[in-house]
Symmetry: C2
Subunit: 549 residues, 2 copies
């Protein structure tokens, strides 16, 4: 049943199987499966659609993510003896034992998946994933598929918004693992924020499983763990070319510190010895990767001076220090001060390497503070984002749903008294109405937003894209979207056209009708509108079933 | 190294190992560990404290959760060859190869954990977990421990607030898996919302791993998948006593439906045949567990009538129908209408079972709507809560931090220019100042909130409580807290007293000083206040280190 799969793919599949066992679902999936099985309906062909009802974060779009995980989950979907025994203990005692044998033999060999490609721009009410297969099986998949798409799409969309707020050039680093909603919340966040536009993650497991570039140097605890220069060991460092004997790096740095204090008119009495010891130890361990956090005590009175001294000593030995991290206070103002000192040192001490030092800023960055940061003058090269990115504080859930649209070829519909909870019946084709740039809206150019078949009768039919490809896809997909829909606040709402799947493209040029039951951004084709009306009228043809007996 | 562990415990430990591999951490833990190792400091005894800075949800308290997972994680903490090979590929190329051998041999045999018990009421700035051990090891544990405590405590506290809002009697059902932040977000939520006061979960895996009672019957898709009574099979059902031959259950129900329509003056033309077929099929499959969702079309015109008919037919055969679920609209008003119909049926048809039918309400319940629901007249017996509970929409992250407080017996402190980010140095004892009820605050009764040793040099020393025990602990711990601190809105802030750990209880009766650096709810003992001032003044003694050379 498995398509060819590389080593990395196997590690991902194993990790997913461990994190998403088939019992990680709602109990009612099993009670319903039993009722279908009991009445002999479990093999009836059925179709579910997965979609969300509103674009997240008050925005004008979302990104679709989680497809690859869904396919991995479906490939290995089956219940073990242990699973089935547990189900036996929680389902009502009169459940027919043969049902558990049926469960034990179940897999997704009858399941076909059509989907929007991973990383595509999507909109509210658009069917993202279409799941077709035996009624009992596709019902059983509901919770797992929702769980895999909901958060992945949400956090990917959130990352895209942070990317839009930050502009295309600044490097973005995700570091939310410790604040995520559970361990896998952290792993999922690292993966899909990278897809949504982040460059780096602090999460090692995300690097291991998904090949995302990882970054990080030191925390405040490292700095505060040092107390005096006596703790620095070894105290020597060899020059990068290795030609000379190792020099006394502590003395070399102390000399530079005196020069730096003179240059900046700083009081040496306020410099923290423990901080200098920490920087020295780190630089001696990793002379090519020196990027300390400089605000454990005071940036201006201690951290920046200590950094410059160690970095100048490294330069003297031929190494290139990398930069600094600021983790508190007014990042913009501090970055300007820090850059000024770097320029001064570069000029005064003739050290060109000081012109390419980078400044990393991390301090509880939200979408709003990213927007503000981008407006203000600053010298921050890399922004690290944690809590607000990974937990999506602005809206922590996307609210995807999974609705039955067809059984045995007949369209199905939920007609709730709550209009928001009603569904559009039948399988659908979805189109985005794209304007040719500069043309009038009324001569809108029609282009299809294709859903492709990704799994046919349990076989994965479409090669998966790499993380880098999908990441690129996100940015190119966002490129096709007009800025008015991408505005982070009060975007225009995008009109999605929904048509029955049997129609070909030309049919979509028939007028679209806005359906009172649904949100206004969805335009239904005329035939689909008729179908909705007919199903709403209900079992009019069959309404005599009571008297018929 | 492992203490005795039952089967369930093993399943939990395995699950945790799979969900929280040791690479699920920030890269800088490894770069710091290397720098410590390189300078020979990796074995120095160090102490970290884990705490949060503000009570979540604008509330007056939090609950501490995640301890058991932390202990399971620590018991099995080690790096595989594969892990180490990956680390070799991401750490700088000049990393000494012997460091990777050191990592390969690492475990938590030198780690000691003192902690507040799982499920205890706690407050901002209180050290919840104290982690003591070799500097490099306890540093490496940071991200994993934070990740395990942060969300567990947050979602447990959220559940406790929902429980306070709902009152003690109403049953609460968690059903957030599909909307959670990733699969494990869902699993963690099910576990800790149960601990925080929920009775049931829909999540089967949570039942499997943690023994939480699971519940669920059917979704709308089940109802809408049926179209006509012809799909009902088998059409017969035997009476509960099994004495008679199976009867034609469809005809029996149709008869009852006619009676119900007559009684209520309802139009039979508006009744959905598919919905009746769905209810019949379910009742025939699970006659003892009949609890359908009745708003797939219209509660008043169809769902309620169909339910009553099937339930009356079940009663005639000696079964006890369970109740109904409402999933949209005004739950309070509908529950009153539904209860009225149940009473009428009970009386008119002399069916006492109709007096004990339960009404389940599920419709995007938030803390606010739970408060409102509790104020309004209603007949809802069980409330199902999903999105707002598990994703903690009001505040999706707790913001726990892990700070170094001691190295080689010397207190350490971070003195940021941002006062909120400064820490209280040294190991601490924490006390809650409890009033004797009715007495004046000035004669406050002092009682210690004990932290216990849970792991000594890598060995688990304290037997874990069962889920039920911890759940009870939460409620009894909340009982000790005065209502003014438990108010969901604008609670009073609780004063926490922090003392150096060397002092005995009597010493805490020395005056407490409020420290400008910290939030005002924390009162420091006089000696601790001196220590803070001294460390803030900094390396005054050592400040000549520059000139000393």
């Amino acid at each position: 049943m498995a398509a060819p799969c590389s080593d990395t793919c196997e590690a991902k599949e194993r990790s997913l199987r461990e994190r998403v066992p088939p019992l990680l679902t709602d109990l009612y999936q099993f009670t319903m499966a039993y009722a279908y099985w009991r009445s002999g309906r479990h093999q009836e062909p059925a179709v579910f659609e997965l979609f969300f009802r509103d674009n997240p974060f008050g925005g004008g779009f979302s990104l679709f993510a989680g497809l690859e995980d869904c396919l991995l989950f479906l490939r290995s979907f089956h219940f073990t003896d242990e699973d089935v025994e547990f189900l036996r203990s929680v389902l009502p005692p009169n459940t027919d034992p043969a049902f558990f044998q049926f469960l034990r033999g179940l897999d997704c060999s009858g399941v076909t998946i059509r989907s929007v490609p991973e990383g595509t721009v999507v909109f509210a009410r658009v069917p993202l994933l279409e799941v077709a297969g035996p009624l009992a099986v596709v019902q059983l998949l509901e919770t797992s598929l929702l769980c895999l798409v909901n958060y992945a799409s949400l956090v990917c969309s959130n990352a895209a918004r942070f990317r839009l707020a930050a502009g295309p050039r600044r490097k973005l680093l995700e570091l939310g693992l410790r604040r995520a909603q559970g361990p896998d919340g952290g792993l999922t966040a690292s993966r899909y924020t990278h897809m949504g536009g982040f460059d780096l993650t602090s999460n090692v497991q995300a690097g291991f499983l998904f090949g995302i570039p990882v970054a990080g140097t030191m925390a405040h605890s490292y700095v505060t763990s040092f107390n005096s220069l006596e703790e620095v060991w070894p105290q020597t460092l060899a020059a990068v070319d290795g030609d000379r004997d190792p020099v006394d790096f502590v003395s070399l740095t102390k000399g530079w510190l005196t020069h730096v204090c003179e240059l900046l008119g700083a009081e040496s009495g306020k410099i923290r010895e423990g901080e200098l010891a920490a920087f020295l130890s780190y630089a001696i361990a990793y002379p090519q990767n020196f990027l300390p956090v400089i605000d454990s005590y005071s940036v201006g009175c201690s951290g920046l001076l200590n950094f410059c001294a160690v970095a100048l000593a490294l330069c003297e030995l031929g190494y290139r220090p990398v930069g600094v991290r600021l983790d508190s206070g007014d990042l913009c103002r501090q970055s300007l001060d820090v850059r000024g000192v770097f320029r001064l040192c570069s000029e005064h001490f003739s050290v060109p390497a000081f012109n390419s030092l980078i400044i990393v800023g991390t301090n509880n960055i939200s979408e709003q503070s990213m927007i503000e940061l981008n407006k203000k003058e600053n010298e921050i090269d890399v922004v690290g984002v944690g809590t607000h990115l990974v937990t999506c504080t602005k809206q922590p859930s996307l609210g995807c749903v999974y609705k039955l649209v067809e059984v045995r070829g007949r369209p199905r519909m939920k007609i709730s008294e709550d209009p928001q909870k009603s569904t559009v019946p039948g399988r659908k084709a979805v189109y985005r109405l794209l304007d040719a740039e500069g043309e009038d809206q009324s001569v809108a150019h029609l282009r299809s937003q294709k859903r492709r078949c990704y799994m046919l009768q349990g076989l994965v039919t479409h090669p998966q894209s790499s993380a880098a490809q999908t990441r690129e896809k996100v940015q190119s997909s966002l490129q096709t979207l007009h800025p008015r829909y991408k505005r982070l606040q009060e975007p225009e709402s995008y009109t999605v056209s929904v048509n029955e799947i049997q129609n070909n493209l030309s049919k979509t040029q028939t007028p679209f009708t806005s359906c009172g039951l649904l949100c206004q951004q969805v335009a239904l084709s005329e035939r689909l509108h008729h179908l909705v009306t007919e199903l709403q009228r209900g079992s009019s043809i069959d309404s005599n079933f009571l008297l018929a007996n």
